[in-house]
């Protein structure tokens, strides 16, 4: 098949590829949360999308707090100081939400050894509740008469609408690949995502705690007999997933600039798709799956039109599951080499 003809020109092909990589990096970071929890608990952490969503709001709030509400367009360099604060804040917020989720929606069920289906239902409920809590934040503030005092943050009357970061980050072209202007924002996103993944990979492979995670993933019973505190391990797993989702939220806000109470849903489904594609429970699989999904859906969007982007992603998932039911790198977290 002549790819050039399919995409109009090779230039377009390259530009769709690079554009896909940027989104793929974000998918990969979110996918980590799914894949780690799945590796340890064999549960689909359905509410992870809301962990991410809270992170995106944290980013926007930090900008409102430190900059104000006047809409401006800054270069990456100018926004960097606030961005770093936002990065840390998003990671903290997302991690807290993830820990709350673990404590409230999962731990009671894990302790009872409840069926997985029930844990999934619990997670679906928590996902609804978290998303709605964000959409109703103006009402909650109103109960304490704070809705006008905090109006920059809770958007009275429009809490469900799009909430934008007042500072939009102006990408600065660094160089061109096949007609695609690769910007500093793109590079930062891809590099930051890769660095985070690398650090996490090293953490799981090399540290004592990483060994604990792998042990629980492999065989919870033996691990607890060997003195691994599995509750602790589960907690840390959620914490790490939350941190990564917070990082992803920052990168997402750099690129997109706005969020809303249901922004996590479709992104979460995509990230889960990425995790499954790469081989769920496998950290490197999450990276591979994320990048691949980002690229493939961008190509699909180029060929069929952008409204078919999500369809391409899901069809891809089904095809990969049919050919390789255990994902591309089917090796699980527990079996990762030490």
């Amino acid at each position: 098949m002549d790819l050039g003809a399919l995409f109009g020109s090779f230039d377009n092909f390259a530009s769709f590829t690079v554009g896909g990589l940027v989104f793929g990096a974000i998918y990969a970071l979110i996918a980590l949360g799914y894949t780690m929890v799945y590796g340890v608990l064999q549960l689909i952490n359905f509410a992870h999308s809301e962990v991410f969503m809270f992170g995106t709001f944290a980013v926007a709030w930090i900008f409102v707090l430190l900059h104000g509400t006047s809409d401006v367009s800054w270069s990456l360099g100018k926004a960097l100081p606030i961005l770093l604060v936002a990065f840390v804040a998003a990671m903290i917020v997302s991690a807290l939400v993830a820990l709350l989720l673990e404590r409230v929606a999962y731990r009671p069920l894990i302790q009872k050894n409840a069926p997985k289906l029930i844990a999934l239902i619990s997670a679906i409920g928590a996902s609804f509740a978290l998303s709605e809590a964000m959409g109703l934040r103006d009402r909650f503030a109103g109960w304490f008469g704070l809705d006008h005092k905090l109006s920059n943050y809770v958007s009275p009357g429009a809490a469900r609408d799009v909430y934008s970061n007042p500072v939009s980050i102006q990408p600065h072209k660094l160089f061109e690949i096949g007609g695609y202007a690769v910007s500093d924002v793109d590079i930062v996103i891809i590099v930051a995502a890769l660095l985070m993944m690398f650090a996490l990979d090293q953490f799981v492979r090399r540290t004592r705690f990483g060994r604990g995670i792998r042990a629980v993933a492999q065989d919870p019973e033996s691990a607890s007999l060997m003195g691994v505190n599995s509750t602790r391990v589960v907690q840390v797993t959620f914490l790490i997933g939350g941190l990564m989702a917070g990082a992803a939220a920052t990168l997402y806000m750099m690129k997109i600039g706005s969020t809303r109470q249901n922004a996590g849903f479709i992104l979460g489904v995509k990230a889960f798709t990425a995790a499954v594609m790469g081989g769920i429970g496998n950290l490197r699989g999450a990276l591979l799956g994320g990048l691949l999904l980002g690229i493939m859906e961008n190509w699909g969007a180029a060929v069929f039109g952008s409204e078919w982007r999500d369809v391409v992603a899901f069809v891809l998932l089904v095809l990969i599951l049919l050919v390789r039911p255990s994902g591309l790198l089917g090796e699980a977290l527990g079996k990762a080499r030490a």
Binding site: L109, P115, L117, L120, S122, G125, W308, V311, F314, V318
Partner: protein, 399 residues
């Protein structure tokens, strides 16, 4: 924690006692009691009992929605409750049924509803087989995500394909054929006869002859006839569900759900039965969707089928009691009814719904009306625990 559990326990036990009582009665009493219950449900939109009736004028319309959701939950219960397959994209089948009906009766044809209905069911079942044949071989939790994707694909497809009405949807879907003389507006409402409704002044009932329901006119003004039609379909499906469940097919489903490998080694062609459950569930979803499309409004659009609806359906089955057809139907009915009943809290309803779902999952994972088997097994386990430990812990091990 424990108190919440024990507060909910009477629901299951009470239901148990009712069914036990029912089982002990002579055949004549059972038929009579069944008939009374059925009659009560048929007349509900006319009786309009206080407290139960929603604030809106259109109680018939609400009951239609309630019956539609009960039907959907019944179908999904076959997939989740009997065969143990988690389908998160059930709304896709609901939409397939609705769109097939819309396309055949209005958008690209002018079929009568009752001809389009069986076609819609068959098309939906085929869709179920096409989706199920490749995916039912993959692991259970993957199935969940694949079906989730499927639900979204269907929505995106109808939104973007001009032939299916795109985002404008399909309008003017014809209603089912009326029985009796056709209405001649503005003065002759048609129909064989009129049935008055009841109005309540506090607890004092009186007849309201101003707003009668015309038997049997499927028009734009009164939703009650649609409710009756749907209720009839629901009753037929319940009977079918009962017959199939208490047979080789039902046993094969349960065995597959309990232990797929063991079932296979006992000669159960598990894949065939999983596919059958999937297709049947799909067909019932399609049936419900078909009724929805040709209902009072006669209008469907991609926005009628958000993925959220899938989550609601699954929640309905689990909350009601997965594996128990009455529980699942009650769950479906509640999911449709509660938001209408408590409209004043409309803004908070999804929040409350989410919290309720998590709370139920954590404290009463078996649902409001769990299948008898679970309750019985739990009772025994609890007894053993009590004997062994001297006191009952909040929850024994799960089976």
């Amino acid at each position: 924690m424990t108190s919440f559990r024990s507060a909910l326990a009477p629901i299951g036990n009470g239901w148990n006692e009712i069914t036990d009582w029912f089982g002990r009665q002579p055949r004549a009493v059972r038929i009579l009691a069944g008939a009374v219950v059925v009659l009560f449900f048929y007349s509900l939109p006319l009786l309009r009992p206080p407290l139960l009736t929603t604030n809106q004028i259109d109680f018939g319309g609400v009951m239609f929605q309630v019956a539609a959701f009960a039907l959907v939950a019944l179908g999904l219960n076959i997939v989740i409750g009997y065969a143990g397959l988690l389908d998160l994209g059930y709304v896709g089948f609901y939409a397939t049924g609705a769109y097939t009906t819309g396309v055949l009766t209005s958008h690209h044809g002018s079929w009568p509803f009752f001809l389009a209905l069986p076609v819609a069911i068959v098309v939906t079942m085929i869709t179920g087989v096409i989706l199920g044949a490749p995916t039912l071989r993959v692991r259970g939790d993957y199935l969940a995500i694949v079906t989730l994707g499927f639900g979204e694909i269907i929505r995106i497809c109808v939104k973007n394909i001009e032939w299916l009405g795109a985002s404008a949807g399909i309008k003017d879907i014809p209603h089912p054929n009326s029985i009796g003389p056709a209405p001649k507006p503005p003065f002759d409402p048609g129909g064989l006869f009129e049935i008055p409704r009841v109005v309540w002044n506090g607890v004092v009932p009186s007849l309201d002859r101003e707003h009668p329901t015309h038997f049997l006119i499927f028009g734009a003004t009164d939703a009650t006839p649609y409710y009756w039609l749907l209720l009839t379909a629901l009753i037929l499906v319940v009977i079918g569900d009962r017959l199939v469940k208490a047979s080789k097919v039902g046993r094969a489903w349960e065995a597959t759900r309990e232990d797929e490998d063991a079932a296979e080694l006992m000669g159960v062609h598990t894949f065939k039965y999983k596919l059958m459950a999937f297709a049947l569930g799909a067909g019932i979803g399609g049936l419900s969707g078909s009724f929805y499309a040709s209902g009072q409004g006669g209008y469907i659009s991609p926005d009628s089928f958000p993925l959220l609806l899938s989550m609601l359906f699954v929640a309905a089955v689990i909350v009601g009691g997965s594996g128990n057809r009455w529980g699942a139907m009650a769950g479906g009915a509640l999911v449709a009814y509660l938001p209408e009943r408590f409209r004043e809290f409309a803004d908070y309803r999804l929040l409350v719904f989410g919290l309720a779902l998590t709370t139920l999952a954590v404290f009463r994972p078996e649902g409001l009306l769990p299948p008898r088997r679970t309750r019985r097994a739990k009772a025994v386990l609890a007894e053993i625990d009590a004997l062994e430990e001297g006191d009952v812990e909040e929850e024994g091990t799960h089976v």
